[in-house]
Amino acid sequence: MSKIDTILLAHGGGGRLTHELVAEAFLPAFSNPALAALSDSAILAELPPGRPALTTDAFVVDPLEFPGGDLGVLSVCGTVNDLAVAGARPLWLTFAVILEEGLDGALLHRLVAGAARAAAEAGVAIVAGDTKVVPRGKGDRAFIVTAGLGVVPPGRELGDRRIVAGDVLLVSGPIAEHGATIVACRHDLAGPGLRSDCAPLASLVEALLASGADVHAMHDPTRGGVATTCNEVASRSGLRIVIDETAVPVSPQVASVCEVLGLDPLYIASEGRLLAWVAADHAGRALDALRAHPLGAGAAVIGRVETRAAGRAPVALATAFGVERPLDLLVGGEVPRIC
């Protein structure tokens, strides 16, 4: 049984309580030799051949625990997925937490367990970490910052500049499940089928690439959802993306939450979904590869890439009724609308 029932300022002070916290909360959960050495830097094995990829992300979420995940799970998945969609095989993660004085120790244990579970699933090791505690009222219970190091294997070339007109856009499953679940929690909506999609995408990406499909670029539609990611891609590639409204998979529960709160699922975050731009004649192969993986069972072709035309929106939605409308960048955050 853990001795840590409440986080105290001293847990971040570097003294005995800090050591106790590391020994009780982090080491057993993340168990690996590089971390266990507790040196100033983790000394790692030599990198496999390829180009190293490095990314970092800060995680805040309210509520800290939600159906399908928690802040810990999210902090690992987010960073693993940023590596994976760049074509890198994720290897090592760092894990820094900023805790608010008074945080429930059991909650911390659960968040750490969530991170450990996600890391194991992704096949990465959490090899370095840090803990700071801020006085009560100076933070919102817990923030986590992770960084991830991975390697892009030789010969793997992915990027928005590789996208060409004629490519098709695939999504690995129903969209917006993470964001819809979070906003549902905040506004007292609940349902058995409503859970965050957060998951590490590394093995799904490997399965897709192993299929031999000519994948040009990948992204994970997190903040701002599919519409925002497509706008970023359209802007970087100089191309136009048309999404087919009727082809976008949205679960009935997510559609329901969005309808009740006046939100558009195309602008809501996923944390375990993949967008892939694939050569048109490889779409079938890519789709089969995604669908053969448990995380890609609901994969679908949702759009196509066109050349940019003057006076036309860079990202458009082809509605069910045979007309197109622009999909702009979201202005500000999505808030429930009533009027």
């Binding site: 909506l189 309808e259 009740v260």
Partner: protein, 75 residues
């Protein structure tokens, strides 16, 4: 104005009800629609049931839309 969504009453206890749409539930007040019964579809706006959906009229609407759809099918 005024986003309002039809949801079905699952439970009621005095003026509080639980309504559901496609597996998603929320507590709403039935104070403005005190006659709503379990099983009724109510129109939910800002956490309140403000109206009841008339089943017969809904069926009539469905019939009308099917007719409209047929129009194109035959054209």
């Amino acid at each position: 104005m005024c986003l309002a969504i039809p949801m079905q009453v699952k439970k009621r206890d005095e003026f509080l009800g639980v309504v559901e749409l496609d597996g998603v539930e929320r507590e709403v007040s039935l104070m403005l629609e005190p006659d709503a019964q379990v099983g009724d579809w109510v129109l939910v706006h800002a956490g309140y049931a403000i109206g009841v959906v008339d089943e017969e009229e809904a069926k009539a609407t469905v019939a009308l839309l099917r007719e409209a759809a047929m129009l194109v099918g035959e054209a």
